[in-house]
Structure formats: structure tokens, C-alpha cells
């Protein structure tokens, strides 16, 4: 028997379920143990523990009108609802709610690609559309756009962007929320709104101009519980003529500082438009076989000094740091951009360059097979093969959660953060590090994200210890100004607590909005620390 929402009488819950069935069809309301279990978080850090957050039921509407009906019913009976799009947000909560007993509002049936325009380069989709669905739509019609994709690509553009997900192509598109344009939202009371130009009945610019007139409210519906997004527009890359890549390596530890400065200049000037990739070739990469000489240096008390590592790198012919660059555009243009980038990086003594793969679009199947598919706009699931047993993953886990703090985009900040996270891992025992010199991801053009995977264990005592350590690391990192951009429900209260300026005035503002537009507190209670008034009182 699924766990019922707290405070809700069984009779009322049963009547709500009956009304949900009348609204969407009986076959689209799920109450059996087997069906509801599908909405558990596959990567829950509460694995096997009574604290695991689980749903009570699920309802899957097919139209926006059905979503409105469901929300009105939920308000009538004060049933907590938790909307998901495709529910594939693994590592950040999956399809499980923040509040046990919630009814999952599963939007997977709303999977229509409403429009893709390859002249104005946008798409309008429903929340159940996956990146695979959108790719198929584009591919079958030969539309000349390049999708920006997360990895894996089975999630939805709507869900991914609303959780501030990211992709792998151009800097303008990798930030999926920033590249959206226009929303349709069902408010907690069932009322329907459209944002930006979507609010103008005869406008043809909903996916062209995002602001409309007056306050720009779209951000309120990301990482929040203020509405159910039922349509969303996204800007797309025009299909480029060509792709080119190259790598620069630099020999000294402190070269990281000018390396990042130059990278910032190139990216923020639009000279390199693909996703950069920082590396530390001196350590051979995360998947290299162990080198006894390096191992001996690193395992001595205090580890190897930068000077020792620089000398080692010189002997081995490896740079200390590397930066892979990717370019999309006309062949001649991106060749010139790569040439200019080389000139800029040549200001670092000892910088070396290596040309990488280059392609013309559309790629051949053989070229796609050899590429990192998401960088050329092809959705992929092969990342799950990394989770299999391999030389670099001797003990496959049972899922993971991400610890992903934002760090300033400077070389010195990387070095500072490495020390902070190394110390924090040592202090808390959290198995945080994935190498001697962890480097941040570069999804965002204007900020770095360190991303550490914390493995989930079958042993509840290990998970309990890691949860406690995770919370401590959140605090330690926040003291240095490194706070997370995204986190699973288990840690959302902790992360939001670090955004504490002026006695948590931002959270209090969010709560004020919540109380105004969702007085019954039925929608996604607790998401990113925003709890309804009644629950705040109980928590206090």
C-alpha cells in the first residue's frame, strides 16, 4: 500500500483518486505498489531506509486542460502534487518528490513537438518530449538545426532546462534555461498563463522575444514549485557548416591562470564557441594506467610539489594543463578562429598545440560513431556504459548523487577550490575526489562547475555517513563562497540555507510568493527549500 500524504484522510485521498481517474482516464492513474514504485529515485541516498521519499500515486494527463483539472482537484482535497516531465533527472532526484506521499504528476504523455523552425531556429515542445523525440523530429524532416543535448539524452528539454541542466554544443545554447524562450504554465490553482509574447493573442513572436512587457517571470518556474510548465520554447543552433577541435597544453602549474584568462577572452568574445574541456595530462587523464613513478611521487607525505610534477611532465613530454577547444561554423571561419586562439595561447611560454577531429555537417554515420555524439547534436545513452565494471571503475555502484558547486572562472579559483575540496574530503571522509587535480566543467560560459559523483551504497550505514559528510562539505564549501547550482531533494534544504544573505531574504521572498500563489501548498512542497506555510510552521 503506497504511503498516503500526511494529514490527508484516506476517504478524501480515495475521492481525489476517483476524480483524477475521471479527469484523465482510469488507466492513467497509478496506485498499485508496482506502478508507484517506478517513481522512486533510482539513485536515492536513502536506499533501503524508511526515510526514502516515495510517492503515493501518479497521474498522467495528456493535455493542458487535463493538467488544469488535476490541479483543481488537488486543491479541493489538498493533495500534494509533484510534476515530472520524463523523470530522468538521475543524480539530482530522478522522478521522486521532495515530500513523501505526494502524487506524481507525470507529464510523459504530453510528448508533442509542436513546432521546429529552422529559419528562426527555435522549437516549441511539451514536457514529455525527450531529446530523442526532438532529434527524431528534426532528423526525419531534414531540418537544419543542431540540438544542444545533455548526456545522457533521454531526458526532456523542459525538465532539463527547468532544473538548470546543461549541454555540450555552443556557449549560447549549453545553458538550457537561458536558451529557452516562452512558457505556458498551469498555476497551482489551475489557471493557465503564457509568458513573454505568448500572452499576446495574435503575436507570432512567442519563441522570438522572451521578455514581453513588464516583469520577466520565467525564472520563477525553474527549480521551484510555483507552476506546472506545459509548453516551452527553445532557441536552437543553426546547423553549422563544419566542426573543428584542437587542444593547447601548457607546461607549468601556474600556467593555469593565464590559460583560463585567455580561454575566457576567447569564449566571451565569441572566438571559440564550442564547449572547452580542461584537463591535466600530467596525470595521464582519469583513465590512464597507473605510472609507478608518478604514484611514488604522489604517495609521499604531502604529495608531489608543483615543481616536481613540472619536471616529471617535462621528462614525460606531457603538459601540466590542457584545454580542448571546439568550434562550430563555416570552415574558413573556424580555421581562422583556431589560428587566432593559437596565437593568443602562444603567449604562455611552452604552449603546444594539437589539431583534433574536424567534420563537415551533416556528419556521416561513421563520423558520428567516432565522435562524442552530444557535441555534434546526436543524443546518446552510452554514458551508462561507464557505470559498468572497467579498469577505472572496479566496483560499480548503485547510482550516485552529484555535488556540484559553482566556482569563479579563474585559474586561481580552480587551484583554491582544489585545495578546499581536497581538505574537505579529508576532513569529512566523503569520497569526493576523482583524481589528484580535479578540474571543473565548462558548461556555463561565465562560471565553472566542479562536479563530484558520490556513490550510493547498498550499505545504509555508508549512505548515512556520506549524507552527513555531504552536508558538512556543503557548509565547508559555502564558507569559501563555493555553493551548489543543483542538488538532489535530500540536500536541497541544506544548499538553499547557504544562500543566506540578509538573513535568508531570498528564501523568504520565495516563501512569500509560494504562499500567495499556492495557499494550500499542494505543488512540489519543499522543492529547493520552498515549503508551504503550514509545513514551515511544523519544521520550525
Amino acid at each position: 500500500m503506497p504511503k498516503l500524504p500526511a494529514g490527508l484522510r484516506a476517504n478524501d485521498f480515495g475521492e481525489a483518486i476517483r476524480q483524477f481517474e475521471a479527469a484523465v482516464g482510469k488507466q492513467w492513474v497509478f496506485t498499485s505498489d508496482e506502478d508507484v514504485a517506478l517513481y522512486r529515485d533510482s539513485y536515492s541516498v536513502f536506499l533501503g531506509e524508511p526515510e526514502e521519499i516515495v510517492a503515493s500515486a501518479a497521474v498522467a494527463p495528456d493535455t493542458v486542460e487535463q493538467v488544469q483539472k488535476v490541479m483543481k482537484i488537488a486543491n479541493t482535497f489538498k493533495v500534494p502534487m509533484f510534476p515530472i516531465s520524463t523523470g530522468k533527472n538521475l543524480g539530482y532526484g530522478g522522478s521522486a518528490p521532495n515530500l513523501s506521499g505526494s502524487v506524481v504528476l507525470d507529464l510523459k504523455r504530453m510528448n508533442r513537438v509542436l513546432e521546429v523552425d529552422d529559419k528562426r531556429h527555435f522549437a516549441l515542445v511539451e514536457p514529455g518530449v525527450s531529446y530523442f523525440d526532438l532529434y527524431r523530429y528534426v532528423h526525419e524532416r531534414g531540418l537544419k538545426v543542431l540540438l544542444d543535448l545533455p548526456d545522457p539524452g533521454w531526458g526532456s528539454p523542459v525538465g532539463n532546462s527547468l532544473d538548470h541542466g546543461v549541454g555540450y554544443s555552443t556557449g549560447e545554447m549549453r545553458d538550457h534555461f537561458a536558451s529557452h524562450c516562452g512558457m505556458e504554465v498551469v498555476l497551482p490553482n489551475g489557471e493557465l498563463i503564457r509568458t513573454g509574447m505568448g500572452a499576446v493573442p495574435n503575436a507570432k513572436t512567442w519563441q522570438d522575444y522572451r521578455y514581453g512587457a513588464g516583469p520577466y517571470v520565467d525564472g520563477m518556474f525553474s527549480q521551484s514549485n510555483f507552476g506546472v510548465v506545459t509548453k516551452m520554447g527553445f532557441w536552437l543552433n543553426p546547423l553549422p557548416d563544419a566542426y573543428l577541435s584542437g587542444t593547447v597544453t601548457v607546461p607549468k602549474h601556474q600556467d593555469l591562470v593565464p590559460l583560463v584568462d585567455i580561454l575566457n577572452y576567447l569564449e566571451n568574445s565569441g572566438i571559440t564557441n564550442g564547449m572547452p574541456q580542461l584537463g591535466s595530462p600530467i596525470f595521464g587523464g582519469p583513465f590512464a594506467p597507473p605510472d609507478p613513478e608518478l604514484g611514488a611521487m604522489m604517495s609521499k607525505p604531502g604529495g608531489a610539489t608543483p615543481a616536481e610534477l613540472e619536471a616529471y611532465g617535462a621528462r614525460k613530454g606531457r603538459g601540466y594543463w590542457s584545454c580542448g577547444l571546439q568550434f562550430y561554423g563555416p570552415e574558413k571561419v573556424i580555421a581562422a578562429q583556431w589560428e587566432h586562439a593559437r596565437e593568443k595561447f602562444s603567449s604562455i611560454p611552452g604552449a603546444k598545440f594539437q589539431d583534433g577531429p574536424s567534420y563537415k555537417f551533416p556528419l556521416t554515420p561513421e563520423q558520428i560513431e567516432k565522435s562524442h555524439k552530444v557535441t555534434v547534436g546526436v543524443p546518446d545513452l552510452s554514458i551508462f556504459m561507464i557505470g559498468a565494471r572497467s579498469p577505472f571503475n572496479a566496483n560499480p555502484s548503485h547510482g550516485h548523487v552529484w555535488f556540484s558547486p559553482i566556482v569563479p572562472r579563474t585559474g586561481q579559483a580552480i587551484l583554491d577550490a582544489q585545495k578546499v575540496f581536497t581538505d574537505a574530503a579529508g576532513e569529512t571522509g566523503l569520497p569526493l575526489l576523482n583524481g589528484p587535480a580535479p578540474l571543473p566543467a565548462t558548461y556555463y560560459k561565465r562560471a565553472f562547475i566542479f562536479i563530484f559523483g558520490i556513490m550510493v551504497s547498498t550499505d545504509p550505514s555508508v549512505n548515512k555517513k556520506n549524507r552527513e559528510a555531504f552536508r558538512n562539505v556543503i557548509k565547508i564549501a559555502a564558507e569559501k563562497g563555493f555553493v551548489e547550482y543543483r542538488t538532489p531533494p535530500a540536500f536541497q534544504d541544506d544548499v538553499v540555507a547557504t544562500y543566506s544573505f540578509n538573513n535568508h531574504s531570498l528564501l523568504r521572498f520565495h516563501e512569500t510568493i509560494k504562499d500567495a500563489i499556492d495557499p494550500n501548498g499542494i505543488l512540489a512542497a519543499g522543492r529547493y527549500g520552498i515549503w508551504p506555510k503550514a509545513m514551515r510552521a511544523k519544521k520550525a
Partner: protein, 198 residues
């Protein structure tokens, strides 16, 4: 579709995918370790297990070719290739993967499932069936049977390259081997009763 199928799969509730949205390798974690089934369990499991080369050849010949729309095998491993050979001999539609299921999903299963839920079975690594199950559940299917049955034969150590991720999964470490699992994914309705007909 279901009524056209001739075999009855005794779906034992203890084997049902009660918590089927488990992560990679999470079958063990949700329902406790499922050890290698004994012969009785094989037989009770029905057709999926009768596909295994561990069973006598007559077990295969007794199966109905139309029981599954597709049988998926990971062709990187000798055991799965043997399995596929025998399954083909029994008239089953076998499709090869190499760990990653993206190509199979995009070019076949997604289109097939647009027409309605189907029953599929396979012998693969856990990572592969995890992906398949997560996708299948959105189309009205469930993991109906899952058993951890075989150590994969060790494969050559192949350097990792992000462009060749599939190779990463065939490596073995220090004598440890990946596990192969036999599984059935079936329409939800077939899993919802003690004895679903698929």
C-alpha cells in the same frame, strides 16, 4: 498483440519489478541479492530462462518463436553469443548490442513501442537492461523478470576513449568480472497479475 502470443509466463510476484526504477546494478539493492537461480527457478521462470544455454537444447526447441518480439544479446561476450545462436535456432528474433543500447532504441525499439508495448527478453550487462527498463516503463512496460546469472568472460583490456565508450564496459579488473543478467520486459498488464499471459 498479447492475445496472439501463445506462451504463458508465470510471473512470480517475488520476481516482479516492484521497484523497477533501480539504478545501474540496482536490482540487487532493491530486492536483495538475486543469486543464480537453480533449475527449479529456471523452469518456473518460464521462457526467458529456457532461452539460456544452461538448459538442455530441448528447452529451447519447446519455446514458441513468437513469445518475444525481440531477444537482445550483448555480442561482446562469448556466453551471450552462444545464447543468441541457440535462440536463433529456436526461431527467435535476436538483435545484438555492444553494451550501449542507443542505436537499438532509436532505430528500432522506440518506433516499435510507438505502436504499443511489446515483450522482449535478453542476456546483457546490468547497465544495458537498466537503460532499456527505464525507457520501456514510459511506454507501458515493466521489468517482469531479472536474474543475475553469469560471470562475463574476461575481455581484453582496452584503453578508454570517450568516443568508444562501449569498449569500456568489456574490460575486466583483477580477475573480477562483470555480471550478465537475463531479463524479460513485458507489457504492464502482463506483469500485473500473478500469471500474466504474454
Amino acid at each position: 498483440m498479447l492475445t496472439a502470443l501463445t506462451l504463458t509466463l508465470r510471473v512470480r510476484r517475488s520476481r516482479l519489478a516492484r521497484t523497477s526504477s533501480f539504478g545501474v546494478h540496482n536490482r540487487d539493492r532493491r530486492d536483495g541479492v538475486i543469486s543464480m537461480p537453480n533449475r527449479r527457478e529456471f523452469l518456473q521462470g518460464g521462457i526467458a530462462l529456457s532461452l539460456l544455454p544452461l538448459l538442455p537444447q530441448k528447452g529451447l526447441s519447446a519455446t514458441a518463436p513468437r513469445a518475444f518480439d525481440m531477444v537482445i544479446f550483448d555480442q561482446r561476450f562469448p556466453q551471450t553469443r552462444d545464447f543468441a545462436q541457440q535462440a536463433r535456432g529456436a526461431g527467435l528474433n535476436c538483435v545484438a548490442i555492444e553494451g550501449d543500447i542507443t542505436h537499438l532504441y532509436f532505430h528500432d525499439l522506440a518506433l516499435r513501442w510507438n505502436r504499443g508495448p511489446t515483450a522482449i527478453a535478453g542476456l546483457s550487462t546490468k547497465a544495458s537492461v537498466f537503460c532499456l527498463e527505464m525507457l520501456a516503463r514510459d511506454r507501458g512496460m515493466r521489468l517482469a523478470y531479472f536474474a543475475d546469472v553469469l560471470d562475463a568472460d574476461p575481455a581484453p583490456d582496452i584503453p578508454f576513449n570517450v568516443a568508444y565508450r562501449k569498449m569500456a564496459a568489456v574490460c575486466s579488473v583483477g580477475g573480477e568480472r562483470d555480471r550478465l543478467v537475463v531479463w524479460v520486459i513485458a507489457p504492464r498488464e502482463a506483469c500485473a497479475s500473478e500469471q500474466g499471459e504474454i
